[in-house]
């Protein structure tokens, strides 16, 4: 999806505002993608997400990657240019979540899930997947 906000601003501008990160500092060394623990399940590797933003391509918001990022901060610790990609991913998620497009519906979770999952699993999932 492309959010309504795209009519008034560029992706790069909005991501830099929400994340507080300078996306153009990235020199594409690929350390973030090399170290990402969930990279193998992603359709875009983390460094490719940066490339999309640099190109102001809103289609990055259709990527599974932004939802698969689990905010583990591994890329943030290893980035030689101090770009905190964890914050960039959060900014991309918020562009969707703030237009009321929840990614998980609580009513679809099974009773077994709700009974056995730790509270921190549920709260953190809803914090990251709902607006």
């Amino acid at each position: 999806m492309i959010p309504k906000i795209a009519e008034d601003t560029t992706l790069l501008e909005k991501v830099e505002e929400l994340s507080g990160e300078k996306v153009y500092s990235c020199h594409k060394c690929g350390k973030c993608s090399a170290g990402c623990p969930i990279g193998a399940a992603m359709d875009l590797r983390p460094h490719q997400v940066i490339e999309f933003i640099q190109a102001n391509d809103w289609n990055v918001l259709n990527s599974r990657t932004i939802w698969l990022c689990a905010s583990c901060f591994q890329c943030a610790v290893r980035c030689p240019k101090d770009v905190d990609l964890t914050k960039v991913m959060e900014a991309l998620r918020l562009l969707i979540l703030r237009e009321d497009a929840d990614q998980v519906e609580i009513c679809t979770l099974t009773r077994e899930d709700l009974e056995q999952l730790p509270p921190i699993a549920l709260v953190s999932n809803f914090r990251k997947s709902t607006g």
């Binding site: 969930i38 905010s71 591994q74 914050k87 921190i120």
Partner: protein, 286 residues
């Protein structure tokens, strides 16, 4: 010593065994944990957006509780709580404007002055008691374990309890307890965290890789400090698509309680893979 203690939601439910063993240990070591009155959920994940102060209120409100108690430090066990409380704390310590805005929003509370330090319980043991001073009664001889740190005790770097790429704190503790500690390359790697709710397959893949790697390095049990990692590495073993011999997962506090001779405080009924047969086989548990 006395120190305020922030339990968090999960320590009262699926990780009750983590809390109970820690309370028993603290009692023996002379650490009086004073549970915060009226604590609230910290939010579990630190809010990463520059304009989102609303989600910083929950952790900061807990630090106000500490301040009201007349203390300037608080300890916690859960990695997610530790991370969220300390990241929010560092945010407001470094940004007086944001702190002022939050203080004026919480007009029923006293102002947070930014003077509280959040100390993980492992750090408390290391710095205040000293691992070498632990009164070990039952050395964990013959038990090979691997520490699993995961993400939130170590990252981001600013809140890390140890070297974020080469941590040794849990290995040092387990060595003092007499265990054989093996190293393994997945000790820092995220378990998939909250994806356990709606991307279960992603988590199972991580669980398999982490435990398989630990097994190859000779581990008989994996030791950790996060109730969400515990769930993913322990309970998700029943959902694995690839075959793997059951691997017991233990909180560091359970092994510490065992080595201090506090058998009565151990509760293994909350585990999916029961660690009792292993511990009995090693002669560590009657």
């Amino acid at each position: 010593m006395k120190i305020p203690y922030y339990p968090g939601c999960t320590l009262k439910t699926t990780a009750k065994n983590f809390e109970d063993t820690t309370l028993a240990i603290s009692n023996v070591l002379g650490i009086e944990l004073i549970e915060l009155p009226r604590w609230n959920c910290c939010g579990t994940v630190y809010s990463l957006a520059s304009d989102d102060l609303m989600h910083q209120l929950a952790p900061i409100r807990n630090l106000i509780r500490v301040q009201e108690m007349g203390y300037n430090n608080v300890t916690t066990l859960c990695s997610m709580c530790y991370n969220t409380l300390e990241q929010a704390n560092q945010l407001v310590k470094g940004d007086p404007e944001k702190l002022e805005k939050m203080n004026s929003f919480m007009d029923q509370e006293e102002d947070y002055t930014g003077e509280v330090t959040v100390v993980h319980y492992l750090t408390l043991l290391q710095k205040e008691i000293g691992f070498e001073n632990l009164p070990v009664k039952v050395p964990l001889t013959g038990l090979t374990v691997v520490p699993y740190y995961g993400c939130l005790l170590l990252r981001p770097e600013e809140i890390s309890i140890d070297n974020p790429e080469k941590p040794t704190i849990m290995a040092e503790l387990l060595t003092v307890l007499g265990a054989d500690v093996a190293d393994h390359p997945y000790k820092l790697e995220c378990c998939g965290s909250y994806h356990t709710v709606n991307y279960k397959d992603v988590v199972c893949e991580k669980t398999y890789n982490i435990l398989n790697s630990a097994r190859k390095r000779g581990a008989e049990a994996v030791v950790l400090s996060c109730p969400l990692c515990e769930f993913n590495l322990d309970v998700r073993q029943k959902d694995l698509k690839k075959e793997l011999a059951p691997m017991p997962i233990l909180y560091f506090s359970q092994l510490l309680a065992l080595s201090l001779g506090l058998d009565d405080s151990l509760e293994f009924d909350q585990h999916y893979v029961n660690p009792e047969p292993l511990l009995k086989e090693k002669g560590l548990l009657r």
